[in-house]
């Protein structure tokens, strides 16, 4: 299926303190509250205007720094289901999958794009189309796909234990 998505574009080395500030770590607990602070320090528009189906597009080392899982939760509850970055911090990448967010590594896609542009994702051809060309989606394994399809690790386990 080919789907259209509005994108939010960010640069290199965006750390988890920027994605979800550490000062809120022990005071904000519900995912809805956490989402209100998403990317607060670099883009106040994001938390207010992001919509279901929007995609975050970023440069190198997205999600570096602390391994806090709220840095994924915050984007998820703003409606983000897919993050495309030139590269991810390893722990952030794992946290995405475990929360049912699809992290796509695409080294060059972000160049020339800006917030508000649209891209199209074809999950059968495994291609992403942007105004500067088409980019392959790297293959993912069956077990990661199973976690993503379940909506994350906790829901997947819930299915397993309640089956």
């Amino acid at each position: 299926m080919r789907t259209r998505h509005r994108i939010w574009v960010y640069g290199d080395h965006i750390n988890t303190d920027v994605i979800f500030p550490g000062k809120y770590t022990y005071t904000l607990k519900t995912p809805e509250e956490i989402a209100t602070k998403a990317l607060e320090d670099i883009d106040r528009n994001f938390a207010q205007n992001a919509q279901q189906g929007d995609v975050v597009v970023a440069g190198r080392n997205w999600g570096c720094g602390s391994s806090r899982e709220q840095a994924v939760t915050a984007l998820k509850y703003c409606g983000i289901r897919i993050i495309i970055a030139a590269s991810f911090n390893g722990l952030y990448f794992r946290n995405c999958i475990n929360q049912g967010i699809y992290p796509i590594i695409s080294p060059d896609l972000y160049q020339g794009l800006k917030t508000g542009d649209t891209i199209e994702i074809d999950d059968e051809a495994n291609l992403i189309y942007t105004n500067s060309g088409q980019f392959p989606i790297p293959p993912i394994s069956d077990n990661i796909r199973a976690i993503l399809n379940a909506g994350g690790l906790v829901p997947m386990l819930r299915e397993r234990f309640n089956a």
Partner: protein
């Protein structure tokens, strides 16, 4: 057909496969999993999954170390919840307040052995590479999944091989080697790869020193870090390991994504400046920087040889600023008592704390005031790490920490050692 890296071999075994290659996605069953004061939070996620019993309670270890003894009623409540959970689930390896820091205690107790896979809900779980084990940090959700199922998905990492050559000069320690690597290639230099060490330098490093290197590789962005176990490690484990183990070594023709060599013999002591461990410079460049507090301890540099190093520097002298010494474990503390190292430190004016993480992440026992600078033997100096945003933290080896305590400024330990 080329050979296999350490990570490829050990993860294939953990997934019950004959072989695996970098990039493969595996369901891995670790030999050991561990957590610390965050175990109560993990328990809540665990219960959310619908699971009720930890599937392999004999593979689980919990150590209370991050805020011990409890500094507040809330911390005490957290500890109480964890003790009740340990009893309810029959968790075999539980270490209560005062036994020490998880990475050090699990090493001393022979709970993690060469060739094994260990996952910890602590970013410094890379530590266990010093024993030739695969140590990997995981998130709380992942630890809950490990309790519930005994397995976790892992992408087999590519491997960066680093060869350490030559004998370190006097006063140059494993901490300096680690800071050099992080400073040279940056805090994301490892790009979540496995880092395999080799080279003749390792033969000059004691068990205490070896543990520093894989511990610090968390600050290099490594998924895990590995030192090939040798006679020094086997001897360390002789009285500790209570089950058989098989050391795992990479093949000589293993496929590496990158190879680097570090000329250790040419290195000098290194200091990491605020606010990142990769913001490094030579000790010589920062001598004289005013310091208000010195902290010796943590999973990085709170072992016996670190206390002994500090004792050599301060022996017969008096500290000028607060020197807080927190042994990494009760075993370290006992040895320091029996050899007189502790006496020397106390005589010089050091304050001795209860084994644990101490002020490393700003929980208690040495939080600096605003604008007070700390020189620390820890692994992280992020802004606010020790509990106060405007309190700069410098990272160094234990000799430099002790020398700086004597003078109130960053100092060269050599002048006190001769």
């Amino acid at each position: 057909m080329s050979g296999y890296t350490f990570a490829e071999k050990v993860l294939a075994r953990g997934a019950g496969q004959d072989s695996a290659r970098a990039g493969d996605m595996l369901d891995v069953r670790p030999d050991r999993v561990f957590s610390h004061d965050n175990s109560a939070a993990i328990r809540r996620i665990f219960l959310e999954t619908g699971a009720s019993r930890i599937v392999y309670p004999d593979r689980v270890a919990i150590t209370l170390d991050h805020a011990v003894p409890a500094p507040t009623s809330q911390h005490a409540q957290n500890h109480a919840e964890i003790r009740a959970w340990v009893a309810e689930q029959g968790i075999t390896h539980f270490f209560d307040v005062g036994r020490g820091i998880c990475h050090q205690v699990l090493s001393e107790e022979g709970i993690v052995l060469p060739g094994e896979i260990v996952m910890g809900s602590d970013s410094h779980s890379t530590h266990f590479g010093w024993l030739g084990a695969f140590g990997m940090g995981v998130g709380r959700t992942e630890m809950a999944a490990l309790w519930a199922t005994g397995e976790l998905w892992v992408r087999v990492p590519e491997t960066l091989q680093i060869t350490l050559t030559g004998k370190p000069k006097p006063g140059v320690t494993a901490k300096d080697i680690s800071l050099h690597i992080i400073g040279a290639w940056g805090a994301d230099g490892a790009q979540y790869r496995s880092v395999e060490f080799g080279g003749d330098t390792l033969s000059y490093l004691s068990p205490d020193e070896r543990a520093v290197i894989p511990n610090m590789m968390a600050e290099f962005g490594a998924q895990n870090a590995y030192l090939p176990p040798d006679e020094i490690i086997f001897e360390y484990l002789q009285s500790r390991a209570n089950r058989p183990y098989t050391a795992v070594y990479p093949d000589e023709d293993a496929l590496y994504s990158e190879r680097q060599t570090v000329d250790v013999a040419s290195l000098s002591p290194i200091v990491a400046l605020p606010h990142s461990p990769d913001n490094t410079t030579s000790l010589a460049d920062v001598i004289g920087t005013p310091i208000q507090q010195a902290f010796l301890g943590t999973c990085t540099n709170g072992r016996y040889s670190d206390l002994e190093a500090a004792a050599k520097v301060v022996c017969g002298k008096q500290v000028k600023i607060r020197l807080i010494v927190i042994p990494a474990s009760a075993e370290v503390l006992k040895k320091a008592i029996s050899t007189g190292v502790l006496q020397t430190l106390v005589d010089a004016g050091a304050s001795i704390g209860i084994p644990g993480c101490g002020p490393c992440m700003g929980n208690h026992m040495g939080i600096p005031a605003p604008n007070e600078a700390t020189i620390s033997s820890a692994n992280r100096n992020f802004r606010g790490r020790m509990g106060t945003a405007d309190a700069p933290i410098y990272l160094s080896n234990p000799y430099v920490v002790a020398a700086s305590a004597l003078t109130g400024m960053i100092s060269d330990p050599q002048e006190f050692l001769e």
